[in-house]
């Protein structure tokens, strides 16, 4: 019997006719992910090395949230029981009861609403999981054949497919299929490219991503002239994503705002304080087809919908889970999955190729060391960025090492900050005027 069915039986039983009144449930919700994944890796130019062998993973696990008759709550991680013990779930339920705590704002379980139509499954990935996985092995072999001769290559390709089950005591019973394809490669652990969506990468996307990465790798073999006081800093899309993840996401989490643990206070949102330049907007959009951050319904049973966090530079709302929404006095919002599903947009965004032509004196930052150590609440950063790409007169001219010092909130508010659209990434290149020095 599937895990979700076992849990549904159990929770219905203890809602309707518990063994003892102390164990009576008034409401509940269940999330179960039932998935399979296959992957293959490359380490030091060896496909499927002893550290990155072809792998198969199968899992069926999830979480339950319970509201007891006395109004207290419990939550627990669950998976299929290892032993065939008919009393297993009853014993678990007794332990969950022991772990119950008071949190009246959390006890609201949303009533079902119509779900949007969002494409989150690529059938081709299901085929891979079913055994037709040559495509993964072929891709790994092709990478190794095509890699720059002197490069030490690392990489990974993973395809995952499965079911997501959401059940609530208010009548929501959703099961849908979702897939995921993630691939990345790097040369000499200095530069790399990656793809992560709910669909397979298209051959032309793979080719373009590969060409771009190889050309940058080759450019990195040359030392470039040092940066100067006028040098513009350009964050590559992956860097923009990392900055958003470090400085923006935590400060837009409803619980952090409500508890006063974020950069912005609730009043800032209610007053629509200007925190970004008016040409910027920031949105969570789980409705885009086959994007990694897309979904039909949250784990709490809230249908996917678009949420604008910042419009014309002004704060609109933090992202709100059900409990935070109750405390905020609003409806629950869309939720990001990490930085997936989060979209930063500048009104004057141009394609990267056009933006590059206009860079007289710039440095393209592909990665930094230690971003995760930076203070998210203050937004301040002091970062070391070895192996950046130097740009002069619209041309990539070689490699340079820099240090960055600034404040990401100040960057986002500055009129000098611009974006350029990436062909491969949902996050843009970000042009910022910040403290930059030779490392």
């Amino acid at each position: 019997m599937k895990l979700v069915a076992q849990l549904e039986d159990l929770l219905y039983q203890f809602q309707q006719a518990p063994k003892t009144e102390n164990l009576r449930l008034s409401a509940w919700r269940i999330l179960v992910n039932d998935s399979e994944a296959v992957s293959v890796g490359i380490k030091d130019n060896s496909p499927g090395s002893v550290y990155t062998p072809p792998s198969y993973r199968q899992g069926e696990s999830g979480e339950v949230f319970l509201v007891w008759a006395d109004g207290t709550c419990s939550q627990a991680m669950v998976q299929l029981p290892a032993l065939n013990d008919p009393e297993y779930w009853h014993k678990e339920l007794e332990q969950w009861r022991q772990a119950s705590y008071e949190d009246p704002d959390a006890s609201h379980i949303p009533t079902p609403e119509p779900l949007p139509l969002v494409a989150v499954e690529d059938r081709a990935i299901r085929t891979i999981i079913s055994g037709d996985d040559e495509i993964l092995f072929d891709q790994a072999k092709r990478w190794l054949t095509d890699r720059p001769a002197q490069a030490k290559m690392q990489g990974s390709i993973q395809a995952a497919w499965g079911y997501r089950h959401v059940r609530t005591s208010t009548g929501l019973a959703v099961t849908y299929q979702q897939s995921q394809f993630v691939s990345w490669f790097s040369f000499d652990s200095l530069i790399g490219g990656g793809f992560a969506k709910r669909r397979l990468i298209q051959p032309e996307e793979q080719e373009a991503l590969w060409s771009l990465t190889v050309s940058r790798y080759e450019a990195m073999q040359k030392e470039a002239p040092p940066i100067g006081p006028q040098t513009k800093v350009i964050l590559a899309p992956s860097m923009t994503e990392e900055m958003l993840g470090q400085f923006i996401l935590p400060n837009f989490s409803g619980d952090k705002v409500i508890e006063g643990q974020g950069a912005f206070a609730k009043e800032n949102f209610l007053d629509h304080t200007l925190v970004f330049h008016p040409q910027f907007s920031l949105t969570i959009d789980p409705l885009r087809p086959l994007e990694l951050g897309s979904y039909l319904v949250t784990a709490e049973g809230v249908p996917a919908d678009r949420t604008v966090l910042v419009r014309d530079g002004q704060l609109q709302t933090p992202f709100l889970r059900v409990k935070d929404a109750v405390r905020w006095g609003a409806k629950p919002t869309a939720l990001p999955h990490g930085t997936a599903g989060l979209y930063l947009k500048h009104q004057a965004e141009v394609p990267w190729v056009d933006a590059l032509q206009g860079v007289e004196d710039g440095v393209l930052v592909l990665s930094v060391l230690g971003l995760h150590t930076q203070e998210a609440v203050s937004g301040s950063y002091s970062l070391s960025a070895p192996h950046c790409i130097r740009i002069l007169k619209g041309q990539i001219v070689g490699r340079t090492d820099v240090k960055l010092t600034g404040n990401f909130f100040a960057d986002m508010l500055a009129s000098t900050t611009k974006t350029a659209r990436s062909d491969f990434d949902t996050h843009p290149y970000l042009f910022i005027k910040t403290g930059v020095q030779t490392l």
Binding site: Y56, Q58, L80
Partner: protein, 497 residues
């Protein structure tokens, strides 16, 4: 599932593989966790959970490997995983993978280690733990009401059993617990956060904290320091004589050095040459030592590797000379180092990688320092001790870096970075405070800059190592403080200098 049941399961799954002409490693794990978080006097979350499963790593007779895992810890599933792992290993061989037969050379080990916890998981009921954590949280909120506080407590117990085709069967239990306070303070519209923890094996950490309030005092001191940092100026970037606390020293040893001597990195490490560890290389002044190995009761304790070998304590640097690396069975020989049982994995579902446990950086030249109850009293004591011993450089800033916020290293280039909570200039009797800035440099220079230690060893700086995308408990430390000379290859970020 109990330890004996897991052992029986691993034996039976291994038996399924007896007709296979290759080699199989089975890893079974059962993990139990209770966690809770309180924010501003209210429970935000209390969660219980089990996580268990099986991982099967199969090797063809020529040494190609495949891996299959499931979160169902059951015999029938184990059989299917063995078949799947063998099938993938054969695919891998056909793909032309680099073959590795080192596992056949691993010594056979049979061992069973019981639970070292003083209070076994579940001995203190969850409801009592909730009461204790709330009491600790409330006490801190009353004592420092200017901050916004979040208190969390996690208690974990992992049962591992590793079985191999050669008859190896190793079973052990790892208990760990941590109590953390996270505070946010604001001054003049500027915010800073601070985090402080107390770790151990079990709920004893809560009893100890309720008795001595050590963490509470530290949290208050750190929050007061964070308030000062909010409105502190930035330092000009540059190269300074530094004093780093033991948390940062752990970070230095872990990020800047430990990762560079792991056997799977030797092809790309600055401490490797032609794929071999550069044994005999002088990396520090005489008297500097780096040691890695498990400590019972420690956050990162693990007595056996995830490949079923005994975890050894390794002196990586002895008297300033690079002596040994952290080798696992698969890459140690190729990397020119002995196998030290360094393979660790986040869970049954991950391939073990060579990695650290508790790493400590110690120097022979140690100045005594009596720990003070409060942070700024201790900073004063540091200044006085340095003055008495002629260690303060006249006419230049001597910067004390406090609080480890994490770090990162690129073992290939030797670049590393760390971040701290804030900086104090101990050369100035007013002890001015500065904003944190990135502490960065080159691996091969930074150890050379160490000139002494201040105070006895403290090894309870904990963290989570994210190598290879796996999250594994790590820990370590040093003397209470380490003294470092200014070095052109080691710099502090900050304002343009």
């Amino acid at each position: 599932m109990e330890q004996k049941e897991i052992q029986a399961l691993v034996r039976s799954v291994l038996a399924e593989a007896r007709n296979f002409d290759g080699y199989v490693i089975i890893r079974a794990q059962s993990r139990r966790e209770w966690s809770m978080r309180i924010s501003n006097g209210r429970f935000e979350r209390v969660s219980t959970g089990w996580d268990s499963g099986l991982g099967v790593q199969a090797f063809t007779k020529d040494g190609a490997s495949g891996f299959a895992t499931s979160d169902v810890l059951a015999e029938g599933v184990g059989r299917k995983l063995v078949d799947k792992a063998i099938q993938l290993a054969r695919r891998n061989e056909a793909m032309g993978t680099t073959l590795n037969r080192k596992i056949w050379e691993a010594p056979r080990v049979e061992a069973e280690e019981g639970n070292p916890a003083q209070k076994v998981f579940g001995e203190i009921p969850l409801v009592d733990l909730e009461t204790m954590v709330m009491s600790i949280h409330s006490s801190l909120r009353s004592a420092f009401s200017e901050g916004v506080w979040q208190t969390s407590y996690r208690q974990i117990e992992e049962e591992w059993c590793i079985g191999r085709t050669d008859g190896t069967l190793v079973s052990f239990v790892i208990p760990r617990a941590v109590l953390m306070h996270q505070g946010t303070v604001r001054v003049q519209g500027k915010a800073q956060s601070t985090m402080i923890h107390r770790s151990g094996m079990d709920a004893t950490v809560l009893f100890e904290e309720l008795a001595d309030h050590v963490l509470e005092r530290k949290a208050m001191d750190r929050a007061e320091f964070a308030r000062a940092v909010c409105i502190a100026p930035q330092l000009p970037s540059g190269h300074y004589p530094l004093i780093i606390d033991y948390g940062l020293a752990k970070g230095l040893a872990h990020e800047a050095f430990g990762h560079a001597v792991e056997s799977d990195h030797m092809n790309e490490s600055v401490l490797g040459e032609a794929g071999k560890l550069r044994k005999g290389l002088r990396v520090a002044r005489p008297g500097v030592n780096i040691i890695d190995g498990p400590l019972v009761g420690d956050w990162a304790h693990q007595p056996y590797s995830a490949n079923g070998l005994i975890r050894q304590t390794v002196t990586i640097v002895r008297d300033g000379i690079l002596e040994a690396g952290l080798g696992d069975i698969f890459s140690a020989e190729e990397a020119g180092m002995p196998v030290t049982g360094a393979g660790r994995a986040e869970s049954y579902g991950h391939i073990p990688l060579p990695r650290m446990s508790n790493i400590r950086l110690l120097v022979d030249r140690m100045l005594p320092l009596t720990p003070a109850e409060h942070l700024m009293d201790e900073v004063k004591a540091v200044r006085e001790t340095l003055l008495e011993n002629g260690e303060l450089r006249e006419g230049e800033k001597n910067l004390l870096l406090l609080g480890y916020r994490g770090g990162q290293v690129n073992p290939k280039t030797g670049d590393f970075v760390f971040q701290c909570d804030g900086i104090i200039d101990v050369s100035d009797p007013k002890l001015p405070i500065y904003q944190p800035s990135i502490f960065s440099g080159k691996i091969l220079s930074v150890l050379q800059a160490i000139r002494g230690g201040l105070g006895e060893g403290c090894y309870d700086a904990i963290g989570t190592c994210g190598k290879g995308g796996q999250s594994v408990a790590s820990s370590g430390g040093s003397h209470r403080y380490l003294l470092m000379d200014a070095d052109q290859q080691v710099s502090l970020g900050g304002e343009n200098g």
